[in-house]
């Protein structure tokens, strides 16, 4: 015996619908006659409260992103027409620098002093309890001095803190600007230089010298810019040396991102590394006269919770090289 009932035909279906409508109409009349029962109000109120609590708990359970403070992103505009690609522009800037009659900023036998502003994101691993980063960016001003006998000095003082929009922060808890944070003084022979001697003016020789420091031929553009940063923190370059450096960098697979005003208010071309597995883009800022003004690293990944993407994770801005 089958438990399936025959499907209603057309007229039977119509009767079923009409009957259902009548039932609904009668039920509505009963509700109007007797009003809304108390249990219904209670149930509705309870449901509403539960809903509010659920929403509240949901809001509380979903943590509001608490990001570490990072510097504002550079505002980059398209490069002027005719700038060419990165390689061509770097080559042009190198030629311009070679042709200039700029004097040697650090004559032989004189101490070389390098002043720069730096900042780097600090990430602590394995700490007990949560460490709340300061809600502002605390840059440091660094003075590096290389003496003719090889002695070395590195003095770091607190800079002026600013917020994520770049506006100065007046926080009494912040270290007063100008406060010495740390220093290293090394006598002659104590400091290990990556580049102990003056650089060659020839780009091919300079490229080999940089490779000899500890690079492999297949090193990424990011590592070349990283080593360039290290070089510019060790030596004050003559115009011909800096031109050779630009020509070495012209052979990397850099992109011309455009032009910008750097963190110290200077106009600059922006060259950057192509996307890589490291999710980091390194940027080099070069003045229209061909001097490297700044370097910075931008994180562009999507798997970190401490900073938004993209975020600047470090920068160096050279203020003076004498």
């Amino acid at each position: 015996m089958s438990d399936q009932r025959p499907l209603p035909r057309g007229d039977a279906m119509e009767n079923l619908v009409i009957a259902q409508m009548r039932d609904d109409l009668r039920a509505a009349r009963r509700r109007r006659r007797f009003g809304v029962p108390g249990w219904s109000i209670l149930a509705t109120a309870t449901a509403a409260i539960v809903a509010v609590i659920a929403v509240t708990v949901s809001m509380l359970a979903t943590p509001t992103p608490s990001y570490a403070a990072t510097p504002p992103m550079l505002q980059i505009e398209a490069a002027p027409a005719g700038s060419g690609d990165a390689a061509q522009l770097l080559t042009d800037l190198a030629e311009q620098l070679r042709a200039s009659d700029e004097p040697d900023p650090a004559p032989p036998g004189q101490p070389q002093q390098i002043d720069l502003q730096t900042w780097g994101l600090v990430t602590t691993v394995g700490a007990e309890g949560e460490k709340v980063p300061p809600p502002y960016v605390a840059p440091e001003n660094m003075t590096l001095t290389r003496y003719p006998d090889g002695a070395w000095s590195q003095v770091v003082v607190a800079g002026t803190p600013y917020d994520t929009q770049g506006k100065p922060v007046d926080d009494p808890q912040a270290t007063p600007p100008g406060t010495e944070l740390w220093r290293i003084d090394e006598a002659a022979g104590e400091h290990t230089y990556m580049f102990p001697d003056p650089l060659p003016d020839d780009p091919d020789e300079l490229r080999q010298l940089m490779l000899d420091v500890g690079f492999a031929d297949e090193s990424s553009p990011n590592e070349w810019l990283s080593l360039t940063t290290g070089l510019l923190m060790e030596r004050v370059l003559r115009p011909a040396e800096e031109a050779a450096l630009l020509e070495v960098l012209a052979d990397l697979d850099l992109d011309l991102a455009g032009t910008t005003t750097d963190r110290l208010g200077r106009e600059a071309y922006v060259f950057e590394t192509p996307p890589s597995d490291a999710d980091l883009v390194d940027r080099m800022l070069v003045s229209p006269s061909g001097h490297i003004l700044a370097m910075e690293t931008v994180w562009v990944g999507h798997d970190r919770t401490d900073i938004p993407s993209p975020s600047v994770v470090s920068y160096y801005a050279w203020e003076g090289r004498t």
Binding site: V122, V125, G126, L181, W182, I184, T192, G214, E234, T297
Partner: protein, 166 residues
Amino acid sequence: MISRKFMPFVVLASVAGAVALSATPAAASTDPTQDQVDAVIAEFGGTQTAANEVSWDDGAVVLTLAADDTASRFSDPSGITAFSVGTCPSGSFCAYSGTSYTGSRLTFSSCTTGNPVAALGTVRSLANARAAGTVRAYAGWSTVATLAPSTGRTSVSAGIDKLNCS
């Protein structure tokens, strides 16, 4: 009502909290540990029972000020964390994306094995700001650098992918 059984822990927690909050002593001193002991006794009473120790209830509650914590938190009246190597906090070891302890910094506050440094992209300098134990930097299976306690390397070659400590 907190039972008397747990009272010492409450007192300790309060003292510990006060210690953590009082990171800006009024004046620099030649003995920051003693300054801290004095500050605790002034605030909470108790008896100094050692150079870095305060006791209550005949020793039922004892507060010991750790030497490292004392140095890092209280030695500087401005509240600046004490650094023993570059910007690397005392008791930690650090990897930097830039030479001379600059750039992005990864700070490892406990000694575990195989600490990856991929977040930096590349490692350019290292610091071991611990009072004891070495730090080794590896590029694959090769040891690139070995750092004794309280030492650093202002520049290291590319390729470092993890740090180990002992």
